[in-house]
Subunit: 424 residues, 2 copies
């Protein structure tokens, strides 16, 4: 479990818990199935572009969505149906290629038609089917191809289909994002699994690009909703790739199974938080054009929210991101970002570390081995391997008792190239 080195992750309590990593992604929890196929929604002749997640009959789904005023039609439909059924959803249809945002009433009708066709094929109620879309804004879904694909999509459902589904929801992402963990709560085996996508337009506001989580225990609706809200706040809402919140951000989390005893809710929440954080970090790590994951820890704050806002402001700063990319220990930019975060703190109390090397102590720069910092940054940023390394920044802003993390990535010329001609 590479995640638990040094400062990393902020889930240090987790090590003592009963959870451990397993394979299987979103289909690891009991009773969940998934599939992913190529329906011809993307221009690519190879890439999968249509995914399905099927939950057991007793499933409950909590959803959080983009807070943007300009949101996709599919999100309106999800919100409507989750309200209508009190969260009794069974299936999520996910298409990549077209975002179906800014497409008006006809775009909304497309979402309705797609879910209706899927509901008929599955033999369940239309209101139990949700839909998520990702791709180019302003483009309607290629409905003919989607509808043609429904049969194959349902026929492909399997309890090991997570990987295909994880592939089919990607756009500019380079790698699939999956997680599964297993633990024993009161002697009972519990599994949590999830998949996610996202590598550009990532600055989630109460949700994330697209992420789906499943868990094979039952919980009362209010407890589940509350837990998921807290989990999202410290995971998906703590990442940023480019500061741009998407029109299609959606996080949907299922729980299904015999009701879990209340005394294990905390332990379960730890697991959900861990799984969500891994997925969120994998989105930031796969940020467009990035060479590393940046992890910012802010400690000594007066509240978790204060710490999180500062951490995220640092993580989102173009100047911090370019300095990391250039392996330039220009730490003043970290302070400048913290200063403009809107959170009140005393600059005289600030201490700063890059990796394990202290740069500032109580408001003043201290003598540090500049070459060592550059070497540390180089080792993380310049090393090319499939598993991008994590650059650690820790800022102590006072003597408060609260801390929080945020994750982002460096800003490279490659990001410019990717985004300068996305639709052309």
């Amino acid at each position: 479990m590479k995640e638990f080195t040094f400062l990393s992750i902020g889930l240090s309590n987790f090590e003592s818990s009963t959870w451990s990593l397993i394979s299987g992604g979103i289909t690891a929890p009991y009773g969940f199935k998934a599939s992913g196929i190529r329906a011809g929604l993307k221009n690519s002749e190879k890439k999968l572009d249509l995914a399905l997640i099927l939950a057991p009959e007793d499933a409950l789904c909590a959803g959080t969505f983009t807070q943007s005023r300009v949101r996709a039609n599919c999100i309106d439909l999800c919100i409507e149906r989750l309200l209508e059924t009190s969260g009794r959803a069974r299936a999520i249809l996910i298409n990549s290629g077209q975002a179906n945002a800014c497409t008006g009433k006809k775009g909304f009708e497309d979402s309705v038609i797609a879910t209706k066709a899927l509901a008929q094929k599955l033999g369940i109620s239309e209101s139990e089917v949700l839909i998520c879309s990702t791709g180019v804004i302003g483009e309607r879904i290629r409905m003919q191809n989607l509808l043609k694909g429904i049969d194959l999509l349902v026929d492909s459902l399997s309890d090991s289909g997570s990987r295909d589904a994880a592939k089919a929801i990607l756009t500019t992402d380079l790698i699939e994002k999956e997680i599964a963990i297993e633990g024993y709560l009161g002697g009972r085996r519990v599994r949590i699994g999830g998949i996610a996508k996202g590598s550009g337009m990532i600055h989630p506001d109460m949700a994330t690009m697209l992420a789906f989580l499943a868990c094979d225990v039952g919980l009362p609706k209010k407890a589940w909703d509350d837990i998921i809200k807290r989990v999202v706040n410290s995971s998906f809402n703590a990442i940023s790739v480019d500061g741009d919140t998407s029109t299609n951000d959606s996080f949907l989390a299922f729980c299904a199974g015999d009701v879990l005893d209340k005394e294990y809710f905390n332990e379960l929440e730890m697991g959900l938080k861990f799984a969500s954080t891994i997925l969120a970090k994998s989105i930031a790590r796969d940020g467009e054009g990035s060479n590393c994951l940046i992890e910012v820890k802010v400690e000594g704050a007066e509240s978790v929210m204060d710490a999180q806002i500062i951490a995220r402001t640092i993580c989102s700063s173009s100047l911090v991101k370019t300095a990391v990319h250039g392996c330039d220990p220009n730490w003043g930019r970290i302070l400048a970002a913290a200063g403009r975060s809107g959170i009140i703190f005393s600059p005289e109390d600030v201490s700063l570390w890059i990796g394990s090397i202290q740069i500032m102590s109580e408001g003043l720069p201290i003598e540090f081995d500049r070459k060592m910092v550059v070497r540390y940054m180089n080792e993380i940023v310049k090393v090319k391997n499939s598993n991008k390394e994590t650059l650690l920044i820790c800022l102590r802003i006072g003597t408060g008792n609260f801390e929080a993390y945020s994750w982002g990535c460096d800003l490279s010329s490659e990001y410019i190239h990717i985004n300068a001609d996305y639709t052309t």
Copy 2:
């Protein structure tokens, strides 16, 4: 006056006014002197790095500064002195090279010592001298060189010294930023002049990187303060280069001379707004690595502030900036940015233009000549000349009576190169 084409600038009333452009920058107004020399603060052997602005004896100075919690020592001193003297400042000493931010008590003492030396040489009170610094955060001013330069700096003062001062305050800027206008108010000749710097870490919050304005009429303190506050809001606070607010943002505006009749205050404010907007736009246009100025107009809003927040969110979006850089009419990103601005509006009411070409009407994309938009963008972004062109984006969000502008620039690989190794 190239500024007044088509949508540009949002000062359409200005055309009917009595103001016209003149040369002379900040020394155009009666009684103002300036100078700029090379004192050896920058590593370059050619670049000027120390500037002085001297105002007449009856001058009144209004200052607005960064809202960042991490602000430079010189700003603390400016605020202290403007309070102490009720704005009765005479001189501003400006050094480029070291920002003198995050340098603790010793950094503050440096500012005090520098202003004391200058006050002695000028024969004025220490409390009437202000100081502004720009450069690398965490580095103290090279005091020995600065103090050695004071004599030459004062001896070089002249009523045509604006250009030298404008040069001496630059860091990564490519061009000097000066403005001067002249008008007749009640038969009396009035001049407004200013200089500014800034091309990175530009996302002013109630102030700007460094900008200085002078005006040769007298006004009561409260009237002047109020006018300057409004002027800053629609000019310097409406630009963004990279979303990063500086630790050293300062805008200082002098008025000096016989008291102006109250009936001309509005006309004067128009002139100040115009001069400040030109300076602010020149900062955005000179944004690090940029190829063009982006002007975003938001109209049909319920308040000026609503319009301005949306306009600035669009202007600050990495995805909008890279799309402009790539001449990619990926308009969905403009809508996505507006949607996440936090301002309430109905997506169904939105209309959008790029240049003079309409892209959306009442919430829906309309058929538009894509090639024509690409050609328009190419003509602005790809044409290389010293005078960067302006790309126009207009978003109508409803039927409200208010509008506002914001200015930014495209995001290029060059920005990454400039910022990936700023201190190394």
